[in-house]
């Protein structure tokens, strides 16, 4: 891990805050679990323990352990960074195109979306030439099509383009 950067110019969110945020979010998840369990009943019925019985205690353990983690992160000092802003920017460069990709799959199909994702990545992050970019971004979906739809007979989501081609 390259997070223990002590260089003075390195800036970014502190590890302590990230830990506290994660723990707080987990407390919230635990609370949701408890709330959902209470809805279906956490007691004892004719058929034995009710549906919410087990998850209720799971939720309680999430809240308890995460509250402890939160307090420990809060008490623990240290100026360690979670990551530098530049590193987070790098991560973000993957997250948002993937988010668009994931959102686009149901509409334009997985083949076109994948071709666009690969092409975008290679041109924009990798700065490759058009020939290589097009070769891989078009070639890989074709390989996937043949492997999945023809060989293993597993259908993948398709969009208007595939309809046009009659695939």
């Amino acid at each position: 891990m390259s997070t223990q950067s002590d260089a003075p110019e390195a800036r970014g969110p502190s590890h302590r805050h990230a830990e506290m945020g994660t723990a707080a979010f987990m407390v919230l998840l635990g609370a949701i679990t408890i709330a959902g369990s209470l809805k279906v009943g956490i007691g004892w019925a004719a058929e034995g323990p009710q549906a919410g019985f087990f998850p209720f205690w799971i939720g309680a353990l999430i809240v308890a352990s995460s509250a402890f983690n939160f307090l420990r992160a809060y008490a623990g000092g240290g100026r360690r960074l979670f990551a530098e802003w530049a590193q987070i920017a790098q991560v973000w460069k993957v997250v948002w195109p993937t988010a668009i990709y994931v959102g686009a799959v149901p509409w334009i199909g997985i083949y076109l979306a994948s071709a666009l994702l690969i092409a975008g990545f290679m041109r924009w992050l990798g700065r490759y030439g058009w020939a290589l970019t097009l070769g891989i971004s078009i070639g890989l979906p074709i390989i996937i099509y043949v492997t999945f739809e023809k060989w293993f007979l597993v259908p993948l989501p398709k969009g208007p383009i595939e309809d046009m081609l009659g695939l």
């Binding site: 830990e19 994660t22 352990s65 990551a83 997250v95 997985i110 990545f121 992050l125 999945f148």
Partner: protein, 500 residues
């Protein structure tokens, strides 16, 4: 000696040209998966699992388990040549493996690593062959309380043996149980924790979680670190291999010790990663040349690799005999068993002899084939690593997305994959362990069912978990494992004043 006969029968099942082909394909794919960042044993198997739905179960498990062996082998290649552990369990291999490569002894280091992996795996397979049927026979008498106690022990071991802070392990594990509880309650058929969202009716699928947490999460981590691969040249020729093989028997004590550590850590689900570190640590302390560890000692490669492979292989023992997987990858294979319509657990040894013994036989053959494949094809695999990350990353993203989609042919799962991916990145950075989380998603329903059935039998009294010697002992072991960090801490404090 009935088992020997069963094993021979298993070999006859495996030795069809079709299964042999699956084995070969599995190993090669596995090594590639092990070499690439963002793809590992667990999510590699998870992605390919949907492709095996229509295969006969025996062929499917041979293909998938061979991917697992391949991934175990593959981790060593990146560690030694590139100083980048392709898998967490090969971190300890970098300590001496990479210095050896820098001194121009990459061939020796790789041969030692592969051979040790092979020895470790073989030891574990022998253990499985001899012990698993006995454990299964014993476990046939288990009632719900005993079943729950085994789950309890497995999960407590994570808390006690993990490197992470115990409360973080508990939190991660319980999140897994909570995710498993979403959807239809398996006992009463009632819907719970869906909050009116139709997408949540089916609950969270652990395969999607594995692909997100391990696949996407790993890519994000790799992106952050801005990896550039600068590797040492890889060359293995028969002379080097023979030369190293002549040298290796000298380390038989280290090897045997590492095998035992590995098997122990694999069966109690601590996993391959702590096994490799522990084995390296002990070898360093015990060895005559221990002070030279870290500068390129061949013994420093033998110890972690043997233990990691022994642990990775023996993790299948509890999965087969008890239905409790010892590692995330074993958990994925267990999920596969359910999908192929097999009920994991002790009955497998009675009702599905072909399957169980075919799998065990394929472990023997798969590791022999694996050793030959990696020894002959190292340069090819090293070349894959030289493909720049700018090309590899989007391709892995696409493969992960397809893997997540094919689990249920559902686009919502692809969205969940990304959510799990970002969560995996944050959790990993905050040192929350992911393995117990995944195992909890897989085993959540079964653990809950066993727990509720036990309570039903005892009319709500929790003393059912101490009602006989067997269940009481397992529960007590679980509690000891759970409070192990606190106990050793207390012991340290009690002894400290005496030292002063």
């Amino acid at each position: 000696m009935e088992d020997i006969g069963n094993l021979l029968h298993g070999f006859s099942v495996v030795l069809s040209w079709q299964n042999f082909l699956y084995m070969l394909v599995g190993i090669v794919l596995g090594v590639i998966i092990g070499v690439l960042p963002g793809l590992g044993g667990a999510n590699g198997v998870a992605i390919l699992l949907p492709l095996t739905f229509s295969m006969p179960p025996t062929s499917a498990i041979i293909l998938l388990s061979c991917i697992y062996w391949g991934a175990l082998f593959g981790g060593a290649i990146t560690s030694i040549l590139f100083n980048i552990p392709g898998e967490p369990w090969s971190v300890a291999t970098t300590f001496d493996g990479h210095p050896m490569a820098q001194q121009g002894k990459a061939g020796e280091a790789l041969t030692a690593a592969f051979t040790s992996s092979f020895v470790g795996a073989l030891f574990a397979v022998v253990v499985i062959t001899l012990v698993a049927p006995l454990v299964a026979k014993f476990a046939l008498q288990f009632g719900p309380a005993e079943k729950f106690s085994v789950f309890f022990l497995a999960f407590c071991s994570f808390v006690g043996m993990g490197k992470e802070p115990p409360t973080k392990t508990v939190a991660a594990m319980m999140i897994g149980f909570a995710l498993a509880a979403v959807g239809t309650d398996t006992v009463t058929g009632q819907l719970r924790l869906t909050f009116g969202f139709t997408e949540l009716l089916g609950g969270f699928d652990f395969l999607v979680a594995v692909i997100g947490l391990f696949g996407i999460g790993e890519i994000l981590l790799t992106m952050e670190e801005g990896l550039s691969f600068k590797g040492k040249a890889a060359g293995i020729n028969p002379a080097v291999v023979l030369q190293t093989w002549k040298e290796l028997p000298r380390y038989w004590v280290t090897s045997l010790r590492s095998c035992i550590i590995g098997c122990w850590m694999g069966i109690t689900p601590a996993g391959a990663t702590p096994a490799s570190f522990m084995s390296y640590g002990i070898a360093k302390r015990v060895s005559k040349t221990g002070h030279k560890f870290g500068t390129g000692e061949i013994e420093g490669v033998v110890a972690p690799e043997t233990a990691a492979h022994a642990a990775g292989t023996s993790a299948l023992l509890p999965m087969l005999a008890l239905g409790v997987p010892g590692s995330p990858t074993a958990a994925v294979l267990l999920g596969g068993l359910l999908i192929w319509g097999l009920q994991p657990g002790p009955l497998l040894f009675v009702e599905q002899k072909d399957f169980v013994w075919g799998l065990i036989a394929s472990m023997y053959l798969g590791n022999v084939v694996g050793l030959l494949v990696v020894l002959t094809m190292v340069p090819v695999f090293a070349a894959i690593l030289r493909v720049p990350f700018g090309i590899i990353a989007p391709i892995i993203l696409v493969i992960c997305a397809i893997g997540a989609y094919t689990v249920h042919n559902n686009s919502f799962d692809v969205v969940m994959m990304l959510v799990f991916g970002v969560a995996g990145y944050v959790l990993k950075k905050c040192s929350y362990p992911l393995a117990p989380l995944v195992l909890a998603i897989v085993l959540g329903d079964k653990a809950e069912e066993a727990f509720r059935q036990s309570l039903l039998i005892s009319q709500g009294s929790i003393t059912v978990f101490w009602s006989n010697g067997l269940v009481g002992t397992i529960m007590a072991l679980g509690l000891i494992a759970l409070f192990w960090p606190a106990l050793s801490n207390l012991k340290g404090r009690l002894l400290a004043p005496a030292v002063r």
